[in-house]
Structure formats: structure tokens, C-alpha cells
Symmetry: C2
Subunit: 300 residues, 2 copies
């Protein structure tokens, strides 16, 4: 299949590589130069997003944030221009797959506008990070029509392990935001529990051992709890990125008329981390905000 891929950073580059390895012809564009390895593997560099869209049946985006996606889709020389170039109906059957993590509300608008140009649109954000991207082990949460999902699924299978069609346009981004809410607040849960234990004079490692296996069990208690105890705060997933995701949650909550008090609190604690120079640290360093406030550490 002729597949376009726009955004070849630490996530996009290995994902595009898996598509080439799966036998597809890739048309590539990135803010920076297209990585040599992808060209050597047979990928074709394009001059613009519009050219990518002209030459491809499916265009995948993997970009940092909502404004980046909007600019690449609808800006000058963007995907929309490429979809509508040439004869009438040229974009029919073309599918845009946005795998970035962006606003669910903006996503519904983007899907509508691409639809008006005759294209299909899937939002398909991922979780699993750089490791998941490299190992083709991402979780991919997809919003859009069943027909478009069915056409794109073979591509998703080359990049991810758990592929879920969550619902209509925007539902993938909604699932991703829900995921990021739950991850941040579970980190907060583990941080408050272990810090209480440490300040009350118990060994947090022993406490973690005692409660693992019961109701408190989580992937976060296992991974991030261990990082808090071992004082390993190198990313991982950076606090600055998690702040971006919680902003999507809080903006969404505001426009939906929804109260998410613990999400707002976690965002403030992340801000306290940034104020203390920890914006580039792993999100498990959320515990540092509590430690600084309580003048005590989980360990060390």
C-alpha cells in the first residue's frame, strides 16, 4: 500500500520503519530531515505534506500537539491541499490516520473537515512510549467509522499489539486522555501511600511488598513505586508531556461542564515539579512535589 507518514520523531520513526518492513511503500515528511535509515530501507522523502497526501492512499500523522496537527492538515501545502489536488474525487478512499495525542474536541472538527474533502479520518493515539514504538508493541485506541478502521487495521497490527476500535471520531483521543488521567492519578496514589509509610517510619519497600497482590495492586505500584524507592527519575515519560495530556483533560472537562478535582490537583503538583526543575524528569517524580511539601523523602 502507498502510505504517507508525517512526523518522524522518537515515536514516528520506528513506527514508519515497521510499515516499510511490512512491505508498504512509504512517503515521508518531517519537520527535520527524514532519518537516513528510513530512506535506506526504501522510504521516499517528500517536499510537503501535500505531496505526501497526493502520493499516498493512507496518510499517518505522529505529531506533538493539536496545533501541529491542524497546521499539517489544513495549513499551506498541507494534507488537505494534497487530498483535493488533481481531478474531482481524487481523495475518495484516502484515509487520514492521526496517531498523535491531541484534543478530542478538535479531533471531531478535523474529522468533519477531512470528510467534507471526501477523505476518511481515524484518530488513533497510542500508549506504550518509545519502547512500545520500537518493539511494535503499542496500544492503539481508535476512533472513526468501522469501514475505515477495517481498512487501517493491518497497518495498526504492524505497529501495535493491543488495537481497540473504541467508537466514532474522537473516541480514540477520549480513551487516551482517560488513560493519562488514570495513570497520573495512580502515580499520585502510590506517591501519597509510600510517602506516608516512609514518614511514619516504615520501610517503603517492605510496605510495597506487603500490599502488592491485594486491592492496591497496579502496574504503577510495580513500576513507578519501584522508581520512587530507588530514586530513578530519568524518563520514561516526561512530566512536561504528561502536563500536556492533563491540559487536554482539564480543557475538555471545562468545555463539557465536568469536575475533575484530582486531575486538577495532579496538574498543580506537576507544575510544582516543573518549578523545581523536574519538567524533564519521569512522571514518577510527581512524588517530589509531595516530598518537598512534607520535607521528607520516600527513600534515600
Amino acid at each position: 500500500m502507498q502510505v504517507g507518514f508525517i512526523g518522524l520523531g522518537i515515536m514516528g520513526a520506528p513506527m514508519a520503519g515497521h510499515l516499510i518492513a511490512g512491505g508498504h511503500s512509504l512517503f515521508l515528511k518531517s519537520r527535520r530531515a527524514v532519518p537516513e535509515a528510513l530512506l535506506a530501507a526504501g522510504g521516499t522523502a517528500c517536499a510537503s505534506a501535500a505531496e505526501v497526501a497526493e502520493r499516498s492512499e493512507v496518510v499517518v500523522l505522529m505529531l506533538p500537539d493539536t496545533p501541529d496537527v491542524e497546521a499539517v492538515l489544513f495549513g499551506e501545502g498541507g494534507v488537505a491541499a494534497g487530498l483535493s489536488a488533481g481531478k474531482t474525487g481524487a481523495s475518495a478512499g484516502k484515509t487520514v490516520i492521526d496517531m498523535s495525542s491531541i484534543s478530542p474536541i478538535a479531533t471531531k472538527d478535523f474529522a468533519r473537515r477531512i470528510g467534507e474533502l471526501g477523505g476518511d479520518y481515524l484518530d488513533a493515539p497510542v500508549s506504550g512510549g518509545e519502547v512500545g514504538a520500537k518493539n511494535a508493541a503499542l496500544s492503539i485506541m481508535v476512533g472513526g467509522s468501522q469501514a475505515a478502521f477495517a481498512r487501517a487495521e493491518p497497518l495498526f497490527r504492524l505497529m501495535g499489539k493491543t488495537i481497540t476500535h473504541v467508537g466514532e471520531s474522537g473516541a480514540g483521543q477520549v480513551a487516551k486522555v482517560a488513560n493519562q488521567i488514570i495513570v497520573a492519578l495512580t502515580i499520585e496514589a502510590v506517591a501519597e501511600g509510600l510517602l506516608f509509610a516512609a514518614k511514619a517510619g516504615a520501610d517503603p519497600a517492605k510496605v510495597r511488598e506487603a500490599i502488592t497482590g491485594g486491592l492496591a495492586t497496579s502496574r504503577i505500584l510495580e513500576l513507578h513505586g519501584e522508581r520512587m524507592i530507588a530514586r530513578r527519575f530519568d524518563p520514561g515519560f516526561r512530566i512536561a508531556l504528561h502536563q500536556k495530556d492533563l491540559n487536554l483533560a482539564l480543557e475538555g472537562a471545562r468545555s463539557l461542564g465536568l469536575s475533575l478535582p484530582a486531575t486538577a490537583l495532579a496538574q498543580q503538583l506537576f507544575s510544582a515539579c516543573v518549578a523545581n526543575g523536574l519538567g524533564g524528569a519521569d512522571h514518577s517524580a510527581l512524588v517530589r512535589a509531595l516530598e518537598i511539601a512534607g520535607n521528607h523523602q520516600v527513600a534515600g
Copy 2:
């Protein structure tokens, strides 16, 4: 072994039953009458906590709250009176095991006072609830000396599955409080995530499916997330009891000089639940406080 057991409610009665089934001689006392089944199995009813202590080598307590434990230990006709009755040194080698969930700070004081009477003291709160008590599958978190723990461990093995010696006196209660903090805040995490998903128009069951297996994975997402979606709020573990446990956390935090902002928030949301008649509901009904505030439900 001659084992005393004081407090034969929905947790204590099956736990005492397992000790009888394990071949021990049980001396029993409860606020209400001793259950017939325990007497039929060979247990002996005693008139007072003091009598239980006189006739036993080990005295187990399973009571609702800190003041109950203090009264049973040090009140008139209490365990302390039984430990110190008879000839000097009669209490030597006797061990008090408090399996209630109470204040870690009071626990250290109780252990010291029992120690002054020549007894050993273990704090050994449990998690796993009524089901865990009935199936002898409790997690037991133990604080106290290594020697006392070693003597009591065969009894713990009859009642529980995961037995952890966390540290010195109070460490078991500290671990239990940490557990309850983490459980409450993880419920809050799942509640905010699923409610966001529902209000943003996605199917929360599909969202839960999409994010299970990734970083958001927890026992709470599995069990309590399902309860929120299915609207099954029958306990389970009652909000009023979880409030008691968070009170221990917040009192501890205050006396230790520690800031636990999300624990304080969860406690307030539990209070909102109580104000709406949900004190007897399962703690997964924490989501109701958010639903009422946002005028929307996860499902139904």
C-alpha cells in the same frame, strides 16, 4: 496452642473458625454473644477479655477502631488485667496480636504498655475483607519483633495467604493505612478517567477495554471500574469504613507534618457520598460524588 480471640464480627468469626480448624484451643469473647458455630466447633466462651488473657498464650483482637482496642486492652476486665493476674511473670511469653485496622501512632503506645507488663505485641492488620477472611486468603501486614512474628506466623498462615513482616511495632498499621490511601486514590483515578470518557461521548466499557493492559492497569480498574460501569454499588467495602481509614491517614499526616492533598480530597468526596446517603455503599461509589458534581453518569 491456647489462643484467645476477642471480636467475632464478620471478619473475626471466620478467622477464629480457621484457628479452631487448625487444631488450636480457642477462648472467645465478643461484644455480642459468641457465635454458636464456634462453640459447636469446640471454642470456649469467656466472661471477660481478662479471662481470655488468663487462659491463653496468644490473644488475638479483631475490633472496629482504636478506642475499642484501647478499651479491650486496658479497660476494666481487659486483657492487661488478665496478663498481669496471678503470680509475677505470668504474662511472660504471652503475645497480644491486634489484627484490627487502627492508628499506627496509638499502636506504638499500646505495644509499649503491653511490653511493660511483660507481654509481646504484634500489630497485624489485614486486607481482603469478608471474602478473604472466609477463604483464609487475607493479606496480613505485621509489625513487631522478629521473635514474636516467628511464634505467631503459624497462626497467620491459618488465616491468610500473603504474610509480610513489615517492621517494628506500628509498621503493620502503617502499611495498612498506606494500602487504604492507595486504594482510595486509585478508585478516584478510575472514576475521573471513566467519567471523562462517558461525558465526552465514548463508551466507558470500550475505553476500559482499550486501556487495560497498559500503564493504567490496576486491580481497581478491573474490579471497581466494572462496578462503576455496571452500577453495582452494593458492598464490598463500605465508604463509611474507608472514611475511618483515611481519617487515620490524615490524622497521621497532621501529626507527622506531611501533606497528603489527594487523600484529603478523596476523604471530602467520600463525605459528599455520605451526605447523599451512600455511606453504606461500596467505595467504588466514590464516582457518585463526581457524577453529582458533573450532572452526568459513567453509565446508565
